[in-house]
Assembly symmetry: C2
Homo-oligomer: 458 residues x 2
């Protein structure tokens, strides 16, 4: 089965492929907000129906949360497990979107055509590159060159609560020779990448309560404790002046990156001025003395993702609030233990809270970092196939993001993951005006066709 | 004109007086939110109509913001200027109210009957104690014992932007022998009070902007600056470990309170454990080594009234936000200069903002503290009249709140103000479930009848 006619078909049917993706993007499958539960079901149904239309045995599989979609199709080559997620991030602040986030449109921009809408890049557009590559293979050759299991999740943006139980119960069905995950990016517009290091994640929400009700700051101010002030002091103490995180034992398990890997990263000539300049910044804000790629790929972080307390409306209200809260997340690397860090974080915060205040913790996601073993020859085959499609040679890179599923595939299925994606730094995922380059979608689909061919060859 | 039949009439018509107050409270005259502009007009109209029904020449007077209400009625005694405000605080968080804040109801509680609703105590209920006392005088005697100018404002809860220009333009019409302001509290349920020291107020809103848009914390976390972290560090630096405010020259103009006044305050035997215990607290959170009454009446404060940034919805969103903002207010005392403090605050904050972030300031209200001269014999007459109505002797006290109008009356009209009110510490003004004790309303109305009699006597 030759790949050339498959590539031609992908080129000639691009417009149909984009129309299908737009239909998929119109479903507002925001997993973190219960108001959109039905839409998550609809997105799963859409995928089942699309896979079935290609002759794939697919079904929606219930979980206590949003459903999984699992599909199987046989083929002569190795057994591949493909993973993507059909859920998307919330869209607020809605007023910063130029258009309805769920009415996707192709736009011409100075950098080429983009498809704009929530989920265009993360992860519906990426997921569909693989589905479209399979569709073209089947249309051209009547079958696929590999045996493939499709596995789509609907809770990736809300901490994947059902993923581990589902993998445990369905391990035999899902385990494969290698897993393919399409939820990462190109290194840059010329250099495709296979991500082999992923940061882990720990999410904590803390709420400080002082007075039992909101108070008048004239009547109580100066005598009563202010929980916003308490919370601000805690946040200010999470980093020292050099940018290091101050939680006890936080850096346990953070590896030193070997000299040769650091040299490889230096050779990529990553331009942090452009990377930061694109978002209006100029200076690296992480640990003193580290390069940008070290900060992003190999060092842990502590970020405040949200804070709120007191009066936030128009005008002024001289209230001394009862409560203040913050959402704080950590990106983890190497062997850092998320549960130990959670415990140490909570203990540190508790010690910083004055006697007259209470603190409540709510844990969200917790996952370790993953480091893939690239000894599996599939990695090099895929790297060569990617290099054929793109201008420059493909690279093995790290990623600042967290894709816990790769770690679970490793530990629960014994299946190594190849993380291959076509996102760009300016895709604005998780932000207003998210987009996916039409080139990413088109060449991404072509890349998967080439990778299927490469993996099925001896 | 004897006060006794007036007091009897107040007793026998209490139910009608409460009904009128309830009608007034049903108008949601929230001045700080433009959505309620029409309601502010309606509240002003209601007052004009009520004053006219008593034979007072009253009219609504336009301003660039919400209108003033001015009314005049002649009488044999001294000329009194009565001030109150018809606007109320916003009601959020609405879910913490047990009932509709604008459907006031009389409730039986273990401490007696209360009228619950937004504005019941601040300031519609208080304002109406004076109006009802005048109504009873006129009904009983056909006229009032003093010449009275009524002056009602609709922007007190939003920084009174129109007040100074209005006073400047109408100084001749408004100036009087003494001003009466009903917007303060009893010292406790047995001890009525005339407030002679009021804290001033400075309100500042600051917004820190880092990246030009919200970022994905996996993609940028560790390299890009987080404005919530910057804001938290600034807030944490506004106080030192002893509770002192660290803004340069902040304490310039803060007087030492004379020993004899401190002794008077000690004699009031203020129980800070009960005061704080009522709101779920136990420890004084202000400057180390100061008493509660010093903290509340004679020391300046810096409070964060609101903070917001990033994702605050349900669940988790690993965003690295573009902006974070806080509303910060200062209560000022003695000769502290709000404009100098604003400048020093802004300079300090600007110096704490890293080069890669911008800070924007929005100034809201700014007013100096007021200290009344109690040499005017009206003060002692009113104190004796109050003592006749209440169980224990009336006191001259300070107040932690800010009522800038008293300072403007002093400087712009040359009129000294007597601040007499009947609020209680547990009225929950500016908070959900605001209430006013029916006893405060009833004995407050009787108190004003006695004060009118006392001030008209030689």
């Amino acid at each position: 089965m030759s790949v050339e006619p498959v590539l031609d078909r992908i080129d000639s049917t691009l417009s149909d492929s984009l129309d299908r993706l737009k239909a998929f993007l119109r479903i507002p499958s925001i997993s973190t907000d219960p108001a959109f539960s039905t839409d998550c079901e609809l997105a799963a149904d859409w995928l089942v129906s699309d896979l079935r239309s290609m002759g794939i045995e697919a079904e929606k599989r219930p979980t206590p949360g949003h459903p999984m979609v699992v599909g199987h199709i046989d083929g002569p080559g190795p057994h591949l497990l493909f993973y993507g997620h059909y859920d998307v991030q919330p869209v607020d602040p809605l007023d910063l979107w130029d258009n309805d986030p769920f009415d996707p449109q192709v736009e011409d921009t100075p950098k080429g055509q983009v498809l704009r809408g929530r989920g265009a890049a993360d992860d519906k557009g990426q997921l569909m590159t693989f589905v479209e590559a399979c569709r073209a293979w089947i249309a051209e050759h009547g079958s696929l060159p590999c045996k493939i299991t499709f596995f789509f999740e609907g809770e990736e943006e809300s901490g994947s609560p059902s993923l581990v139980p589902f993998l445990r119960e369905n391990a035999d069905e899902l385990k494969a020779d290698v897993a393919l995950i399409c939820d990462t990016g190109l290194f840059d517009s010329r250099v495709p990448a296979i991500t082999t290091m992923l940061r882990g994640m720990l999410q904590e929400e803390i709420t400080i309560t002082g007075p039992s009700r909101d108070l008048h700051s004239g009547m109580y101010g100066g005598a009563a404790i202010n929980p916003i002030r308490v919370l601000s002091r805690i946040i200010a103490k999470l980093h020292d002046d050099t940018g290091r995180i101050t939680i006890p034992a936080f850096y346990d398990g953070v590896p030193d990156i070997p000299e040769d890997i650091l040299n490889q990263w230096d050779a990529l000539e990553f331009d942090h001025s452009t990377f930061l300049g694109d978002v209006g910044l100029s200076e690296l804000a992480g640990e003193a003395g580290r390069s940008a790629l070290e900060m992003l790929w190999s060092r842990p972080t502590c970020e405040v993702n949200g804070i709120g307390g007191g009066y936030q409306g128009e005008g002024f209200k001289t209230v001394l609030p009862s409560k203040a809260s913050a959402k704080i997340s950590f990106r983890l690397v190497g062997q850092q233990d998320p549960l130990a860090i959670r415990e140490n974080f909570r203990q540190m915060v508790t010690e910083l809270v004055p006697d007259d205040c209470d603190v409540a913790f709510k844990g969200h996601g917790a996952s370790q970092a993953s480091v893939m073993s690239i000894d599996n020859p599939a990695f090099e085959k895929a790297r060569v196939a990617l290099t054929e499609e793109w201008p420059d040679e493909a690279a093995f890179i790290g990623s600042g993001g967290s894709i816990p599923v790769a770690g679970y595939f490793q530990t629960m299925l014994g299946t190594e993951s190849m993380l291959i994606g076509f996102g760009k730094d300016d895709d604005q995922i998780h932000s207003p005006n998210e987009k996916y380059d039409v080139e990413s979608f088109h060449k991404g689909t072509r890349s998967w066709a080439r990778i299927l061919a490469a993996l099925s060859s001896n």
